[in-house]
């Protein structure tokens, strides 16, 4: 990986997806010092339902005057960004491409919240779940209730995450919600799906992020500081109603165990990590799935974890759906090279984790500093 670029997540009323994507593409190309790419992988979740646009990668490339490249669009729900990275990685590994541009872009604020929520809800089974009015926040609420009950916790006991995320976002100039919040403010915020409050979840926003990946052959001539993408992995889980224990995230457990088999647990403990905290309860469960805390103990360790979601996470950096995974990796690349969100990182590894809905699919990427 030889470059990353991102734009501030927010409600970009005066810019469309072409402008947002165009800005990060032009930034990342000039930063990477390359003149061309072979393949462009565009990740986007909602272009067909919100922008009324199919074949987004073609239309985007046409508008940017990039008609000499191969391009495709990837969509795997909320984890689309890391899925695009997976495809780019595979293309390079297989020798099909040498220089790949990964672009995550999402433009949703053309419409009011109810419409965005409705199309976002389609990441679960439309015919079985959505149609019965079960949407992602409802599942998160059920899981949160089960977690509180299982470990005898009170609602106030799991309030540290959003507070920490807003604190982190206050140092990230690309974050949508760069303000701090108190625990009281989280509890006083509007109930979205009891016991989930507004400040337990992500804001709606637009955004674009981009990465350039190259083969080792191209890398030898690169003048910029590279970071190696050493491992990408994904998994699918069973539906919520088929799970024995809803406080576990099976797809994430699979990708984490694969990572542990291939490397070791130390990698996780030493890495800077970006987790998919679409609802704060997921952050606690993910900390436990990653083995950073024992079951039921995550709320106690939140404040001890320094390099976790230094961007502010989905909670406060924001969650421009299809672009989010690319944001995570772009931020980690910056952290490992020039520094990010007011922080420098001396460690060797970084992990981006993304999932869709209640862990219906999970994806993970491991980045390593080239010493």
């Amino acid at each position: 990986m030889i470059g990353s670029a991102l734009t501030k997540v927010g409600r970009h009323f005066n810019r469309g997806y072409k402008e947002l994507a165009g800005e990060v593409i032009s930034n990342v190309i000039s930063k990477s010092g390359i003149e061309s790419v072979d393949l462009v992988v565009v990740s986007n979740m909602l272009s067909d339902s919100i922008l009324d646009q199919l074949d987004l990668s073609t239309i985007l490339m046409q508008n940017l005057g990039m008609t000499k490249v191969q391009a495709l669009r990837i969509e795997t729900g909320e984890s689309s960004g890391l899925a695009a990275l997976e495809v780019a990685w595979a293309a390079i590994k297989s020798g099909a491409a040498e220089k790949v541009l990964v672009v995550g872009v999402e433009k949703v604020t053309e419409y009011p919240t109810y419409k965005i929520n409705k199309v976002y809800g389609k990441i679960v089974d439309y015919e079985i779940e959505f149609i019965r009015n079960i949407t992602p926040p409802d599942y998160a609420a059920l899981i949160m209730k089960a977690y509180l009950r299982r470990y005898g916790l009170k609602r106030e006991d799991i309030i540290g995450w959003p507070v920490k995320m807003h604190e982190n976002a206050s140092k990230n100039t690309y974050a949508q919600l760069g303000f701090k919040v108190s625990p009281e403010r989280v509890l006083d915020s509007m109930v979205i799906s009891d016991p989930i409050h507004l400040l337990d979840t992500f804001p709606i926003g637009d955004g674009a992020a981009a990465l350039v990946l190259t083969s080792n052959r191209v890398l030898r001539n690169a003048e910029v500081e590279p970071v190696e993408l050493v491992h990408v992995s994904s998994a699918i889980s069973v539906q919520m109603h088929l799970r024995d224990d809803i406080t576990r995230l099976p797809a994430t457990a699979t990708v984490v165990s694969r990572l542990k088999e291939k490397f070791n647990e130390k990698v996780i403990r030493e890495a800077a990590i970006e987790l998919h905290d679409s609802y704060s309860i997921y952050a606690y469960l993910l900390i436990e799935e990653f083995g950073l805390a024992n079951r039921g103990q995550a709320p106690k360790v939140v404040n001890e974890l320094e390099f976790i979601n230094i961007s502010g996470g989905l909670k406060a950096r924001g969650h421009p759906f299809g672009a989010t995974g690319v944001y995570q990796v772009a931020e980690l690349y910056k952290l490992m090279t020039e520094g990010f969100a007011g922080k420098k990182f001396d460690g060797k590894y970084a992990i981006a984790h993304s999932m869709s809905g209640p862990d219906y699919n999970a994806r993970l990427a491991l980045l390593q500093k080239i010493v």
Binding site: R11, T109, P112
Partner: protein, 360 residues
């Protein structure tokens, strides 16, 4: 040798002869609405909305507009036969087709030789009515013009709009500057196609673009209109004694005033929304009436309306001698703010016909 002729701005030939306001007696507390729908407890405080006026079953845009206009004519002490135009700015007219202005004009005894139209531009049609009346008076087409802003604003139950959407009316009698107690020094309008708030044909309640109604709509249009006025007249915020803005809530007028460089003290005298809600076409115009009722001759007032869709009219008004006498000729805004009776959410729902009944 060439001579430069001084051409006065047409609006400077005109002024306010009289004004009147109507606010329904019923009030519902914002906390009760917020509590019912599960809004954040702090939301009414953040928006600065304490309670809102609720039109009863026997009050509508026509009855409220009529009352405000009646008071305006009484304050003006003129014969309604000399009124040559009646404009009603509203987005909640009782009839989809059939003018409200004609009902009000005939009930007031206005001349049959007149112009009379209902106008719709979300919350600023009343302001445009004033501009039209000014133009007609300045051109000599009519002697007096009546511009009314009146609304029983709709809001979908459970929409954040419901905290503020309320009912009320204001009316202004515009005439020759020589007869006026406040003269127009300048007026400009800034309009773009900005879809921040709308109600489609057949829809019972309006829709809005949430946060889009703020920066690109309300703030942008008011700031542009007011800066245009400043440039044309060569005035600065320091030249004004009062600033009155459209008030969708209590917070926005203070924020837009701060952006423009007005201290809070110049804005607060014209604030009414925290206690009566957003009366839409009445909003800025009721605020102006409140300011006229406390201003001294020679003082300068800035008024900026705002209507979604979107546009803003900015007026510079200078108070003239004789205003104090006019104030006493009708009920004051302060009196109407105090005249109130609290109702529950269910009584409010009944008054605003939120319950659908099967009759007959």
């Amino acid at each position: 040798m060439s001579r430069v002729l001084f051409v006065p701005r047409p609006e400077s030939l005109t002024g306010i002869i009289g004004w009147g306001v109507y606010i329904p007696r019923q009030r519902v507390k914002a906390d009760e609405i917020a509590g019912l729908w599960g809004f954040e407890k702090s939301l009414p405080k953040v928006l600065w909305i304490e309670e809102k006026a609720v039109a009863s079953v026997d009050e509508d845009t026509v009855t409220m507009g009529w009352y405000a206009a009646k008071v305006a004519i009484e304050r003006g002490s003129i014969n309604p036969e000399f009124i040559g135009a009646v404009f009603v700015g509203t987005e909640s007219k009782p009839y989809a087709v059939k003018p409200s202005a004609t009902i009000i004009a005939d009930a007031l005894g206005v001349s049959k030789k007149k112009l009379s139209t209902d106008m719709e531009f979300a919350c600023r049609a009343g302001g445009e009515g004033i501009r039209l009346a000014i133009a007609l008076v300045a051109s000599g087409s009519i002697r007096y013009g009546l511009a009314i802003g009146s609304d029983t604003a709709q809001a979908s139950p459970g929409d954040v709009l419901e905290l503020t959407a309320s009912s009320g009316a204001a009316a202004y009698l515009i005439g020759p500057v020589s007869e006026s107690v406040a003269r127009f020094e300048g007026v400009v309008t800034y309009i773009t196609d900005t879809p921040d708030f709308w109600r489609r044909e057949g829809s019972k309640y309006p829709s809005h673009g949430e946060i889009f109604t703020g920066e690109p709509a309300y703030f942008h249009h008011i700031v542009e209109a007011v800066n245009m006025l400043f440039n044309e007249l060569g005035l600065r915020p320091g030249d004004f004694d009062y600033a009155v803005f459209h008030q969708p809530n209590g917070k926005f007028p203070l924020q837009v005033g701060r952006k423009l460089g007005f201290p809070k003290e110049k804005i607060l005298p014209g604030i009414v929304t925290p206690w009566i809600g957003n009366t839409y076409n009445g909003s800025a115009l009721i605020g102006l009436a409140k300011v006229l009722e406390q201003a001294k001759p020679g003082e300068r007032i800035l008024v900026a309306t705002f209507g979604s869709g979107a546009g803003s009219d900015a007026f510079s008004i200078v108070v003239r001698d004789g205003i104090e006498e006019k104030v006493e000729k009708g009920p004051k805004v302060d009196d109407l703010l105090k005249r109130k009776k609290y109702v529950s959410y269910s009584q409010y729902a009944k008054s605003r016909r939120l319950y659908i009944r099967n009759i007959g």
